[in-house]
Amino acid sequence: MKNQISIEGCTSLRALTLANSSLTSGAILDTIAEIRSARLEYLALWLPNNGNRADDESLPDLAALVETLREVRQLAELRFIYHGPIPKRRILERLQDIFSPSVPSRIIHVVEGR
């Protein structure tokens, strides 16, 4: 089935934010996988709130995103927004592990949302 909201045609994007309070992570990743912009410099995503867990199972399957961003060479900031009691540093370290070496650790940021 075809997405009714598609960003596939947004080929000039330099900044993309997907703020999502309750959709499944799969929906986000399906959308992210459509990124074809050669100019994307800023990407901000909201992590789903999976309670207190800070292990791999608390994060969505980010393999598709890692694969997509491998090609986005000019990405200058990859920001994850999350809401939950897990220490920010712990989430940041897990994300840096997941994205290494496709995305430089220095451009990955974690900020707390609402």
Partner: protein, 286 residues
């Protein structure tokens, strides 16, 4: 304290504006009472945004501008806050007076924010008055940004309002409602220019309450030249608006440089975002 007094006025203005942070009136009022130099440095923040909610307040402000004409160049933002308990048909009088009174005085006005404007009435006569009143905003030649919050206005009036502002580049609409007006509301003499608006920035947020406003406004924007000029879009997407948002992005997507999608749903139920088509015929996922 003496060191603070010797600060250049521009730095003092910046410090005071940061302390005010667009909302902390208590701090700003305190700053104006420190000394003459602090009071002078506070003026930019005090008069940056003016809020008017009644004709009496408008007259009061007009009197202030007559007393001290230097204030006219300090006002960058005008907020028209219409009282919710006013009968609808009395609002147009204030709306009509705003451009007549202020357009020639506020020479550095960049933003107009309208809160609570309702153009609903069973009798069409007040609507006709609104058409004239909103057309009058064409006199605000410097205004680049229009923000509507909790307004009730159909797309033909919205189109008239936004295209009336000759320099408009930003449009923000939050919690908008669409009334039911008969077609052909706008007389031919008042039909907005097809060359406008030329928006660069768009922000739409209709909240969680169902309203046909999102599809109506998105479809209207696609029909305007803004389809080619938009560069930055922020949309709060409800499941009921998915089809209209998809249609909108397929049209303007290639020219966009910044996109923010905020997904919302009514109840947070998996059914609302499931892969299978919903009864309303919309879906967000594959």
């Amino acid at each position: 304290m003496q060191a603070l007094q010797s600060l250049p006025s521009t730095i003092l203005q910046t410090v005071i504006h940061l302390a005010y942070d667009n909302s902390d009136w208590h701090t700003l009022c305190s700053c104006t009472l420190v000394s003459k130099s602090w009071r002078a440095a506070s003026r930019n923040s005090v008069y940056r945004e003016i809020s008017i909610g009644s004709e009496a307040r408008l007259e009061e402000f007009e009197g202030l501008l007559a007393t001290d004409p230097t204030i006219t160049s300090l006002v960058h933002s005008l907020v028209l806050r219409l009282p919710p308990d006013n009968p609808d048909f009395t609002n147009y009088s204030l709306v009509a007076k705003i451009p007549r009174t202020l357009s020639t005085l506020l020479t550095r006005l960049y933003t107009i924010r309208v809160i609570g404007l309702r153009t609903v009435h069973e009798n069409n006569e007040p609507i006709d008055h609104f058409i004239v009143a909103l057309s009058g905003f064409a006199a605000f030649a410097t205004v680049q940004s229009l923000a509507l919050y909790n307004c009730t206005m159909d797309t033909s009036l919205l189109s008239l309002f936004s295209t009336s502002l000759p320099a408009i580049r930003e449009l923000s609409i939050e919690f908008h409602h669409i009334p039911r007006h008969p077609p052909g509301l706008i007389p031919d003499s008042q039909v907005p220019s097809p060359q406008r608006p030329l928006l660069k920035t768009l922000k739409l947020d209709f909240g969680l309450i169902f309203s046909p406003a999102a599809p109506a406004i998105l479809d209207w924007l696609i029909s305007t030249p803004s389809r080619d000029t938009l560069r930055s879009v922020t949309l709060t997407v409800r499941i009921s608006d998915a089809e209209a948002v998809g249609r909108f992005l397929s049209e303007v997507g290639p020219v966009l440089e910044e996109l923010e999608l905020r997904f919302e749903d009514y109840f947070g139920l998996p059914l609302e975002t499931a892969s299978k088509p919903l009864s309303c015929g919309t879906q967000l996922t594959k």
